[in-house]
Symmetry: C2
DNA sequence: CCTGGTTTCGATAATCCATCGAAACTGAGC
DNA sequence: GCTCAGTTTCGATGGATTATCGAAACCAGG
């Protein structure tokens, strides 16, 4: 009896790099898999989460959309939350890369923050699903979403560093950098509370408006906002990972 | 056979005013009800939602906490969502009353908005549960949560009116009032994304910081912020409904 | 052709939401 | 006091969903 492996499930997500994808029992649909099977599953889940919400999407539905049966999903993900965690882990990379690139590059602190908020808002609007829905699930399961929280903490610290720089330089009002960073991230995410209901507005003006509000709220000289906005648009950010 | 009433369930929530609360079959726990039974159920649900999340709270658990069995809840609420809707309908009254009172009262527009954001943030932090969780559920069921959306739209229009006034008076930058109102509400709610994870900070400084950021982001002359903050604190708002 | 490893699936247990019909009580009228 | 109508609660149960277990179906190598 083949029972060498105590648990045949994938350990933690080796990705397409590790396992050379050996063949197993064919799917009942007859279709063959292109590349990593996980990609197809996550793509299906991502779309369905956006259409019916995370809780409104059953594992059975995801499986069908991905071309297999419900129990087969549990070969790749031990629990539904694990699937969700894999999804946000990818989504989180975008703003993290953006913040790092901005901090490492040129530009005034105010322009950096402006650009970050602008692009972060747009990126969240472009996600197929509502990040806040996942955020709530992650809050109930800190261990299962350890990667999510780690990345979010890193992001928060980077934003706090930006705010602190702005204060030291005399551009920003003296504020609590930690509290402000949290508020900024919350504001970016708060856009999703209304963006996904009713007809959708264009994302770019939204990002600009939010960035104006946030940076304008920190600047000591409000007149500088026009210049900051102009500079923000000129900042060059090396192309990072684009989700989906 | 007693079958005059086609549907014995409560029609829509007549409240304690209508029905004189007649007695029925006693509860298996033996306890008697004080006042409206709905109050006890909502109180139990409210607490449990805060502790384990809405989806993490079963109807059975709510029933047990309220002193009865699971099917009995369906005498008062036809679906779980109906129970949730009844809960937020109460919570929404607070900021709505606040905005109306501020608009009707004295004070500069900037101070009114500052005071609103401040108190709204604090009110949301004080809620036993996370309003955003409910917000997401409401988004998937617009008809079941018609009251929620109606009140939220009213609130949004009131804030937009504040913003428009500020622009006309020359205190605020010329911004899209509609878009700004949405962003402000989203920012208030976005605080909940981090407030409820880990150790909780004091709510009042948070409300102040968010109000500073929002109003500061709209003011043409950033120096005015100190005065606005001072005036905001002096505004008198007639005591409204306090939730729980 | 046999063996070991990979991938998929059918059957199934457990849990939760929601419904149905009946039980258990009160109060009013006779 | 007794019956009847109305109110409130409950037990039993169906349907849906998550997750597990063990076996089936395939491939590559000896």
């Amino acid at each position: 009896m083949p029972e060498k492996k105590a648990r045949p499930r994938r350990p933690a997500r080796p990705g397409a790099t590790a396992a050379p994808r050996r063949t197993g029992r064919p799917r009942s649909t007859g279709q063959t898999v292109e590349g990593d099977a996980v990609d197809g599953i996550l793509a299906a889940a991502s779309t369905l989460f956006g259409q019916h919400g995370v809780d409104g999407t059953t594992m059975s539905r995801i499986a069908t959309e991905a071309g297999l049966r419900q129990p087969s999903l549990y070969y790749y993900f031990r629990r539904k939350e694990e699937l969700i965690a894999a999804l946000v882990a990818r989504a989180n990379v975008v703003p993290l890369h953006l913040a790092r690139a901005l901090l490492a590059g040129e530009g005034s602190t105010a322009a950096q923050l402006h650009r970050f908020v602008h692009e972060d808002v747009v990126a969240l609007c472009r996600l197929p699903f509502d990040i806040n829905e996942v955020h709530r699930i992650a809050a109930r399961d800190p261990e299962g979403f350890a990667e999510y929280w780690s990345e979010r903490n890193q992001l928060q610290r980077l934003i706090a560093r930006m705010v602190r720089s702005g204060c030291r330089e005399g551009a920003f009002r003296p504020v609590d950098a930690h509290l402000t960073a949290l508020t900024v991230l919350g504001t970016d995410e708060g856009v999703q509370n209304w963006f996904r209901v009713g007809p959708r507005l264009r994302t770019d003006p939204i990002g600009l408006a939010v960035a104006d509000l946030v940076v304008g709220g920190l600047l000591i000289r409000a007149d500088d906002l026009a210049d900051v906005r102009k500079e923000s648009a000129t900042l060059v950010v090396p192309a990072g990972p684009d989700f989906r």
